[in-house]
Amino acid sequence: MTALLPLPDAVADLIGDGDTVALEGFTHLIPFAAGHEIIRQRRRELTLVRMTPDVVYDQLIGAGCARKLVFSWGGNPGVGSLHRFRDAVENGWPSNVELEEHSHAGMANRYAAGASGLPFAVLRGYTGTDLMRRTANVAPIECPFTGQELTAVAALRPDVTVVHAQRADRSGNVQLWGITGVQKEAVLAARRCLVTVEEIVDELTPRPGAVVLPSWVVTAVAHCPRGAHPSYAHGYYERDNDFYLAWDAISRDREAFAGWIREHLGAAV
């Protein structure tokens, strides 16, 4: 059954150095608070998985938590580059980060395969691109009925997936709505999962468009109001777009970045 834990305890219990960790949330409900706690606890050598490694992964990479990044689009959405990500890839600061990159469709299907208990998924994709040469996790596959050649992608099975949701009940059943992205698949593909939530309520009343994760697939829930800030939580708060714009300048400069981490997370870089 689900453990209801303070965020520091949940991160300490679930995430270890060297783990493969997926933080998901497609523009919406990005688990920033959990990412910050990972930085505070100085986790190292993580393989970070995420379709859209945006500002939260820029922070984790800049803080030196990442050994490898598995992803499909790394930018500051609506703003521009991720400067800490670029500094790591282009200049090896604070350390080199190995990249494994895919398309969105490939990543989504890799999570779906993991959630389905299959070793791979099939799609039409990657054909003719240089992406195929850059990872062993993509391979051609032939349809046994038609002989058509398609593309297989290996399942993703993170050690831990972290997502943010609007609500959980006291048993640990989780409810999220709005743009629900790939969160269900990322949770079901993982060995363990942590869900941070805006609210803990007595009862999850049905909501249009809601995804519900039953408590028995949720390892831990942590109550983190505004835990998705500066991204948004549909029905709770809007995206803090000024922060995304401000991040461009903060993250361009190593000192300014370190200062921000120190000041806002109380962590040393």
Partner: protein, 237 residues
């Protein structure tokens, strides 16, 4: 009214979206152009975003492809695996609408790295996102980018996406389409742009028809609609 080259590019891109088409809107300038089209000649354009929103009808320009206004105004919101598998891959999208950092003579798109060495690139770009499958599975593709010898290149440094259907490339200088042999060739020059300028901003020996067509300048209505979108545009993708 005067207009900027970026406004011309956006308006030209919007015009390429016919009313009623199902348009998969990639990250970048495409979202601005698609929303402009919905406000001008294509009120029934169906906007599909990779965040899983089908038939979004935003009343302001979304701040990102996952803006809450897309979910609130969509006909249906589905998960990300479903939007790619059931909707894009199955061939239900008429127009795939993409940005690019580089495009080459043969229409290959690069949004991954600039430089010869993938492992130590001169510039690390965001990567593929939805583009490879948008380019491959849409019935036709529209690509928008600013044109320069560094963005219009003989051969891209990395092939991120390959368009499989008819393709239109719209820049701040003109409009391009593949010739019969697949080589990108000029079809339209934007107002005030010379053939010479288009050639200089192209990294290969550009094919130009004897008399290139001229893009009509943005109408007052188009510019007014675009500028009404503008207050939040800087932040839009």
């Amino acid at each position: 009214m005067n207009h900027t080259t970026e406004e011309m590019m956006t308006v030209a891109a919007a015009r390429a979206l016919r009313d009623g088409a199902r348009c998969f809107v990639g990250i970048g300038l495409p979202s601005t152009a698609a929303n402009l089209a919905r406000r001008t000649h294509a009120p029934n354009l169906v906007l599909i975003y990779e965040s899983g929103t089908i038939g979004a009808k935003p009343d302001h320009l979304p701040l990102s492809i996952g803006d809450g206004v897309l979910a609130e105004t969509a006909d249906a919101v589905v998960g990300v695996p479903e939007i790619f598998n059931y909707w894009l891959q199955a061939g239900r999208v008429d127009i795939g609408f993409l940005g690019a950092a580089q495009i080459d003579r043969l229409g290959n798109i690069n949004t991954t790295v600039i430089g010869d060495d993938y492992r130590a690139p001169a510039v690390r770009l965001p990567g593929a996102g939805g583009a490879p499958e948008i380019a491959a599975s849409s019935k036709e593709a529209i690509v928008v980018l600013r044109q320069s010898p560094r963005s219009f290149v003989e051969r891209v440094d990395f092939i991120t996406s390959v368009c499989s259907g008819p393709t239109t490339v719209i820049t701040d200088l003109g409009v391009y389409s593949p010739d019969g042999d697949g080589e990108l060739a000029l079809t339209h020059l934007h107002p005030g742009v010379t053939e010479q300028r288009a050639r200089e901003a192209c990294g290969w020996d550009l094919r130009v028809p004897r008399a290139p067509k001229r893009t009509a300048p943005p109408s007052e209505g188009e510019l007014a609609a675009l500028r009404a979108l503008a207050p939040r545009r800087k932040a839009a993708t």
